[in-house]
Symmetry: C2
Subunit: 365 residues, 2 copies
């Protein structure tokens, strides 16, 4: 740290220079985050400085968090769900599995049984909590093989997980079937819908994946992905809110006496922004956003196939994957663990972006 | 979630209403967070949408994180420290202790030895990681009893901690002495300077508490406290950066192949804001901010003692504590575990705020 400060305009100029080195979103085809909605950005400023970790100081912002949780609980078919705004899917997954572990104390070598498609936050979770992670292979269409999942659970299993919107292929596991496995074996069942939670409800005739499925205990869904909020804003929902009590620690000198969250200080601004987007768009607005993303996903697949790229799977969500092949310079795509080309068609990947990309693909084919 | 969206002005009006229910910072005397610096708020908007969890997409923002870490490393007398921007002190403490655990594998019943003043994030950490938490009683002036700390370590101890700026009394443990205990017993030594890290270096003749003390392995310090950034922005620094590798997980489909952080998606905007404040103020600017906070702390103590309240301790930092007594309505103060009245004199607690408070105290005494 330097002794002397700089002039304000020098600082802004320095940081603008760095910002200009970042890639433009209109060439990012690999991310599950997007450009935040303008109302989220505006509202962020109104709430900067608010701390949900000390709710007695910010009772207004705390009510917004409650309303966000309630809205997302309604969306997940369980208005009485309990929940809180997390820093994102990793914290949500970690906290859900922590609760599952607390609910089954006394197991010496506990394990969780998760799909091969599970996000690497499950690796972190098992590492921290000292759990064996049993990874169930893929079945058809890159969803989990439920027969194998049932076989792989045993008396030391504390939880199973299903993915509603896999990171790599945008697929949805058979949540109803996993729900039956969970109920038959008295297991906590966490649904990781960090990506899909704000997409699937807005698709035509979606497969059941949320609390309407018997056996689902908890759901992770991230406003900072398809909810177009600023980063960070995730959400963990529990069917039985009182289970959060298993995580309580004493919090002297705050305006609350207990807390069950992972972080202490928690931003209110991102949460207010997430709620603003939900209020502004409503279900009909999100349906329109998702319809646009799906339309652009179809256009991308059709366009790529015209150049000889072959789709890896028919995606349920706004992710497109193809057998390997090169892509034009200047565009960021990613690869799955199986080496497939992978595109995430987020709201910033507009029809124009798709057409610009396809025009560049034409030049190299 | 409702079917129809609302008009933009309705959403803004609704949220403004909630915001107005929050307390004003000019009556909050209990918080370690403050009103973010205006440059942090401005810069936040420029960087909204950036995600440090996918650094290849945001190489400019990633460089800012590197510069922030470097600046704070310099401040902590170790420019070659490694580090990253966390969601706050809880994540920093958790990650430091995770590393300590990784560095001493094979211990069956591992424990950590921490001061009684340790923040409740250590409780969460031990709960998650399956560690025994040994709590060392207070010695003089609400700092840890180092003789007892030495006695309480044993062959199963994986780490000791010291607090530089205790949450409740604003005191600094004898970091040099704990450093010797750590070196003699080959222990990882984490310094929790979440609050003090951006105060102590700017005090006249501060006690050594950072990497200049032999034996200190890691430091937590939070720009979102006395660094006046937006929330969330913490920082974890390691003397030996390669130790972060113990936490690596594979990250398919991102622009990096490994990551050691807790979260996946990580906000760039708050980090850019934190760096902007550091560049704008420099050491001389922070010295001036801290001098103002300390001056106001002294004025508060002097004013309160004039009304018969008795200071609990002579604070090293901008925290004032008093034997019990009532405070005027409309002001938020807190209480320590020992029942002392506690005030945190953050930058928003200006001289005017202190005088307004004392004027109200006069009315009830």
């Amino acid at each position: 740290m330097e002794e002397k400060g700089c002039k304000r305009e020098e600082v802004i100029s320095l940081l603008s220079g760095y910002r200009s080195e970042d890639l433009h979103h209109d060439h990012i085809l690999s991310s599950m985050c997007t450009i935040p909605h303008e109302i989220a950005v505006s509202v962020h400023e109104m709430f900067s400085g608010t701390n949900l970790g000390d709710p007695g100081l910010f009772p207004g912002t705390t009510q917004i968090e409650d309303r966000l949780v309630h809205s997302l609980g309604e969306l997940m078919h369980h208005p009485k769900a309990g929940g809180y705004a997390t820093s994102g899917g990793t914290e949500s997954n970690l906290q859900a599995i922590r609760i599952a572990k607390k609910l089954k104390p006394g197991i010496i070598n506990p394990n969780i049984v998760v799909p091969a498609s599970a996000h690497f936050s499950f690796d972190k979770t098992c590492d921290m909590l000292g759990l064996e992670m049993r990874t169930v292979p893929y079945g058809k269409n890159y969803t989990v093989d439920c027969d194998k999942m049932a076989e792989m659970t045993d008396k030391n299993t504390i939880a199973v997980a299903g993915i509603a919107g896999t990171t790599e292929y945008g697929m949805i596991d058979d949540i109803e079937r996993i729900g039956r496995i969970a109920l038959e074996n008295d297991l906590f069942f966490h649904v990781d819908a960090a990506f899909g939670g704000m997409v699937i409800p807005f698709l035509p005739n979606p497969a059941p994946f949320d609390f309407e499925v018997p056996g689902v205990s908890s759901i992770s869904l991230d406003p900072h992905k398809m909810g177009m909020s600023t980063i960070p804003c995730g959400c963990l929902l529990l069917r039985e809110p009182e289970q959060f009590g298993t995580l309580n620690v004493d919090t002297p000198y705050l305006t609350v006496k207990k807390e069950c969250t992972l972080a202490g200080t928690r931003p209110g601004a991102d949460v207010a922004g997430a709620y603003a987007v939900i209020k502004l768009l409503g279900r009909e607005g999100f349906r329109s956003v998702v319809a646009g993303c799906m339309e652009n996903t179809r256009r991308l697949i059709e366009g790529m196939e015209a150049f000889g790229y072959v789709r890896a799977v028919d995606p349920v969500m706004n992710v497109a994957t193809f057998g390997d092949g090169s892509v034009p310079k200047g565009w960021v795509v990613s690869h799955t663990r199986f080496g497939h080309l992978r595109f995430v068609v987020m709201p910033h990947v507009t029809r124009d972006v798709v057409e610009n990309f396809l025009a560049d693909v034409a030049k190299i084919n």
